[in-house]
Amino acid sequence: MADSNPSDTFRLSSLISSATVRAKVKVKDWEDATDVVGQLLVAAGKIKEDYITAMKRVLKELGPYAVIAPGIVLLHARPEDGVIEPCLGLLTLVDPVPFGHSENDPVDLVFALGAVDKQAHISALQQLAEMLGDSEKLNEIRTASQDSALLKILLGEG
């Protein structure tokens, strides 16, 4: 069994903060959503502006497979596209927008992930995946109307 050392387990809580999470945002379309969540991470000093362009390019080039579950998109690009520090941004949207996925559109939860290397963020991603597989948690995330409440839910304090 591959167990990682607790000391090098990447906690989800180390990737998110009040600066990277916004509840009930209005956006025009998928590009706008990507810009808004990307700008949160830029303002927090986690990524460069180039990374926002890269996330959009990945979506356009590879198709909307990043809509990993109904209503949920996980935007990401390569570390060398402009990640300064590992980070995770989240927007919950007032009105869902289509990203072009055949089954999982429209999207109301916009996650943006910045990883610095393949291994480092894997356990954080697994924690995120566990949380998103929990329908009660998902519901809480979707209904939180305040940034602070949303952050608490993500950190497991809600």
Binding site: G63, Y65, H101, L132, G133
Partner: protein, 94 residues
């Protein structure tokens, strides 16, 4: 038996899928080599089963392996049902 998970970027979703599949196989008492691939490097590699997010199917048209497409990458039940069905459908060797 080799199961490959495919993602556009080589980490992220293919790792997530690998972790879920490892858990599912362990719970079923099955053994397999689960490897994450990315689009840039997977051509020419071999696997018995390839697991990918739906909407990546166009990249897998020429694959000779059994292709499993997942709609909801965080839905363990969907992944479990589909992966076990694919494993049971594999031609038995020997």
């Amino acid at each position: 038996m080799r199961i490959a998970t495919l993602c556009g970027m080589g980490f992220g979703t293919s790792m997530m899928l690998k972790l879920f599949i490892d858990d599912i196989l362990k719970a079923e008492g099955m053994k397999a080599d689960v490897v994450p691939w990315d689009l840039g490097t997977f051509k020419g590699q071999q696997a018995d089963i390839i697991v990918a997010p739906k909407d990546m199917e166009s990249h897998l048209r020429s694959a000779t392996a059994t292709v499993v497409l997942i709609n909801n990458l965080v839905d363990k039940a969907e992944i479990k049902t589909k992966i076990l069905a694919a494993i049971h459908a594999l031609p038995k060797s020997g």
